[in-house]
Symmetry: C2
């Protein structure tokens, strides 16, 4: 970390949607840019559930960060983990003790799933935020069918064929619908002793309806559509316990081997790094111009920030919002470099909410109009292919979806990673037999 | 494992090229077939090095076994690990203590890399036999560049940019050529502090020439072609030590952070399971009809078996040989089911040897003619796409290759799995600093 040429130095922590957009918009600004991420790839999170459900391959929704900026000599990429910030000395601290100094700092470090004080649930009910999460979930879902095929005890077999998704937001709805499609369509002829069509997919939501960010009639439509796909939708039921045997909700025990957590997120610890005020989810409460109170040279954007839309409502934690914030930060930095230092308030423009339900069904709320069903699904699919990076990945994802929707076959039904399948089984069996 | 309908029961252990071919050829034979594999996928091993070098995605060269036989009600697939065989009781023992009885048993369990009594080298110099191996190697290769970008000590930076491949057979030649292409072409513009074109790729072979199964002039051509790609080829140099700091060969120490083992394989423990005679590499010395001496109901095929070609030379450990053996076993079982129990000696037909060297270069030895260079590469590519399973994967691999060869861009440059990048770095740094 020694060579530091002249020029204003912008350090961007996190290469999600917000961070990438800021880098793009700073092209030609004259600033030197360093982007730091603890992973080597940008992840297209809206399609992550398709990796978890064996639809897409990991390389179709992830891009090496430094490769995206190979033709930008002003951008330096560092694979590293930020562990702190010293705002007085203007340095970012990395995990190996080294420091990187900045003139302007942009924190875009995103969020992780939160377990509301029950961190021990993470091991049994993993969430879905990274490629590793997705591959782990894919592995657990596919292994559950494998173990069921070998299981002779009917009760245990039934537990292995029960999949519980906790949380009825977009991720929960997408996971439930796609697991149902996987079990009831893709895998239906693959087993000899079990019938995957009899697998139970249970979606549990503590609130009174699915997709709370959508209008009520779209929530009702989503619940009806999921039920027609064979998903059991439980509303107004809070989960009080998760373990290797299943879940307890509303006093009832449901035996299930596979749990998926889609119930809540918490921001990264950026607020602690800079000593900024934060809300209960850990998000930095930023000024109107997205800076940290008292630190006009530190911006916080994306899921790490709590900012307000013009109507006073919080800006939602979705990709378009993070991108708009990245654009705003870049524009502010460009203006400052030209000597214009007047505060520039961020104005969020909400384009709409989209969620897919299952094969060829989706809901869209544009505000001025609402869509549901097959047309919404086509718009959803085209929009997502458009926002993927690069011609190659667009081709590859389009080919994959075309294939799945015409043949019903999935190409990524692979169990990889971690301990061997059989040693996991042994471990789980022991756990199942424990008192 | 309770339901056992009537009919001759063939148990096949291992779903590699030999096992799959036997299952295919037994279609309509009237036999019930159970295939047991400890992984859920068949792997197209000849292209595994392309996953390790970020060219192909894992799902492009692997297929779920049970999905391949979804339309074969006579085939039951078990994800499980065989730990023993009782030939007297005609049962196969699984890792969880359960047993599966057979009328005919086919052992096709393949081989793993062997370290000639130095198993401790496996951790620092991984081999390439499974998808996990390939993803681990990809991770190490890409991380070495990342760490080099952050390293300030010139000697350590040089070690991080030195890649040593041990073993000059087809896998070693393919890995060396492709890592050279990755460093010198794909990654050349991605870094700011290091120049990937200066990375050293060193191929060390203990014997006097590369590709010992090929004619000498093709070996010489391969060495020349690799050197033109920037690979340092060391012949007649045996490696005497591997550790986190690098390798020692012929008394010389070479500092290198990334080692790849391509120097030797050993058969699976099938010989011990059945108490059969084995050669030094652990291969079962089978009868002319591929059965185990004294056990006419147990066949051993593929890399697990040592059988002889008509000219007395050992049948090579390549995919076409395993497939021919699978066909022979299936034909023998079909004949026996019709009452024809006379011994049927296996006659191996050698079609040729192929190896790629790097971008658009390959060598082929058909016996009756030899090819080298670009034409050989085209034949190699077309043959491999032809032997992939399914239209979708053929399209996908062809698209990927086309993309790489026209744009130079690779799509699978992902660092995933295992410990986080940064914790690995910390661990390795500590190891590097150890006395």
């Amino acid at each position: 970390m020694s060579e530091t040429p002249q020029g204003h130095h912008v350090v961007i922590v996190g290469a999600g949607f917000g961070g990438l957009e800021a880098i793009r918009r700073l092209k030609g600004s004259g600033a030197r840019i360093t982007v730091i991420d603890r992973r080597n790839h940008h992840l297209f999170q809206p399609l992550l559930y398709q990796v978890a459900t064996a639809t897409l391959a990991t390389s179709e929704i992830a891009w090496p960060i430094r490769h995206l900026f190979a033709n930008r000599p002003d951008v330096t990429t560092i694979l590293g983990e930020v562990v702190g910030v010293d705002p007085d000395r203007h340095v970012v601290k990395l995990e190996d003790g080294s420091e990187i100094s900045y003139d302007t700092l942009v924190l875009a470090t995103g969020a992780r799933h939160a377990y509301f004080g029950h961190d021990e649930w993470e091991e049994v009910a993993p969430g879905l935020k990274s490629l590793e999460d997705a591959v782990k979930l894919r592995r657990r879902i596919l292994l559950a069918f494998e173990w069921a095929e070998r299981e002779t005890d009917p009760a245990r077999r039934e537990a292995l064929l029960t999949f519980v998704i906790i949380g009825g937001g977009p991720t929960g709805v997408e996971m439930a619908g796609t697991i149902a499609e996987l079990a009831h369509v893709t895998l239906k002829d693959d087993y000899r002793r079990i019938d995957p069509r009899k697998a139970r997919i249970v979606l549990i939501e503590a609130g009174p309806r699915l997709l709370p960010a959508f209008p009520e009639d779209l929530s009702d439509y989503a619940a009806k559509a999921l039920r027609s796909l064979g998903v059991e939708v439980m509303l107004g039921e809070a989960v009080s316990s998760c373990d290797l045997k299943g879940v307890v909700y509303d006093g009832k025990h449901l035996a299930a081997a596979t749990l998926v957590w889609a119930a809540g997120v918490a921001a990264s610890p950026a607020a602690q790094w800079v000593g900024a005020p934060a809300d209960r989810a850990g998000r930095v409460i930023v000024e109107q111009d997205l800076t940290v109170p008292g630190h006009p040279d530190i911006f916080v954007i994306g899921d790490t920030a709590l900012s307000k839309a013009p109507d006073g409502s919080p800006v939602p934690g979705i990709a378009p919002a993070a991108k708009q914030q990245g654009t705003h930060v870049a524009d502010t930095i460009r203006a400052r470099l030209k000597g214009d230092t007047k505060p520039r308030p961020f104005r969020y423009k909400h384009a709409g909410n989209l969620a897919t339900i299952g094969k060829r069904l989706a809901v869209i709320d544009f505000g001025w109009t609402k869509l549901r069903g097959a047309l919404a699904w086509w718009i959803w699919g085209i929009a997502h292919i458009f926002f993927l990076i690069g011609v190659r990945n667009r081709l590859s994802v389009a080919l994959n979806w075309l294939w799945i929707h015409t043949t019903g076959q999935r190409s990524a039904l692979l169990i990889t990673q971690g301990r061997s399948a059989t040693s996991s089984k042994a471990k789980r069996s022991r756990a199942d037999n424990a008192p």
